[in-house]
Subunit: 209 residues, 2 copies
């Protein structure tokens, strides 16, 4: 038998305690710091703080939208699976359109990736939604293009695509002009579904545990 902490709540508490000891959070308002603590918890890296950026209203806007029952639109199944349903305040629908049967045809038609094509199926639900992108830079680029074509606006964009091609650029494009939508992002190559889902989980419920 190994000697390790076997109680889930104790593990959470100790993790958050270590993170608050090690991470530089003092420049952030307390409620945003709580979000960043959860992002750090999801990836094991305290230095992501330096790459984090959020609109002043992102947290409040996202939290209110969730309380009002808005849908959560996710770019990948991994993101959707990472969202803790019992934290959601209004049994909010968690939607991922990536595997809808019409997506490959749309991708061919708009000459873009399947991830970008899946955004087209969000249009009717975009207004007031929480948008979460944790995988594909092309999804974030396409979302911004769609926002230039419509006046519908999500309540918040959680933009955390990851990788070597387009991740930096798409997150920079979001931060430079988020089309009047409050946003959170992690600049650079890092990101991913666990961090993106953690952002939703942090916004969904004020308490850490």
């Amino acid at each position: 038998m190994f000697d390790y902490i076997r109680n889930g709540t104790d593990i959470y508490k100790k993790s958050f305690c270590i993170i608050r000891e090690e991470a530089c959070l003092s420049h952030l308002p307390e409620d945003l710091a709580t979000v960043v603590v959860r992002l750090i918890h999801a990836c094991g890296m305290t230095d992501i703080v330096q790459d984090f950026e959020a609109s002043a209203t992102a947290l409040v806007s996202g939290r209110q939208a969730l309380k009002d029952g808005c849908p959560i639109l996710c770019d990948s199944q991994m993101v959707a699976n990472g969202i803790t349903r019992k934290r959601l305040p209004a049994e909010n629908p968690v939607i991922c359109t990536l595997n809808e049967p019409e997506v490959p045809a749309i991708a061919q038609q708009i000459n873009n990736t399947r991830s970008a094509a899946a955004m087209e199926l969000w249009r009717s639900q975009l207004q007031g939604s929480v948008v979460v992108i944790g995988n594909a830079p092309t999804a974030l680029f396409r979302l911004l293009e769609i926002l230039d074509e419509t006046t519908d606006r999500p309540a918040v964009i959680l933009g955390f695509p990851v990788g070597f091609v387009g991740a930096i650029e798409s997150k920079q494009a979001l931060a430079e002009n988020s089309r009047n939508v409050p946003f959170m992002t992690l600049h650079g190559r890092r990101g991913g579904s666990a961090i993106a889902a953690a952002a939703v989980n942090a916004i969904a419920q004020e308490s850490e545990l």
Copy 2:
């Protein structure tokens, strides 16, 4: 319209090209380097190479097991969702027992987390399986404890738990004594479901794309 690469295959190719330019892979055999490239691709960080460790036979053993139709046992739904089904050589079952109805009762009984308790339901399928841990350190600790209680052996353990409490220690325990099971791991706090799923995807299919 933004200027970005919209073709999925081109994005993959360019990503892998950038990774191979930037990452120090020369000390690794070519087939293991291909695995590490995919792990890097999943997280956006080329410096994980330094924390990667694998048994000499891990790749061959895992690949053969998958060809033989073995199940893939995952500690979380996010890992299960990250496995690309069309890469699997034998329509291998992808199993996550975390949400089985008996898990909370088992957790209480063994005085451990739900993630650790879910391992108990793996016992009958452990022999010859591909085991993937991408979330919970307690799951990896409990797996090693179970291997001390049985002679059944997985074909490979892909041990990638993440975080601040037990992640370093459980991966160290795996590397120090993997109970005669070939393994791959990423030492330190980093890990997670995307990296763990990427390891399966890399083992499942020789070609990168």
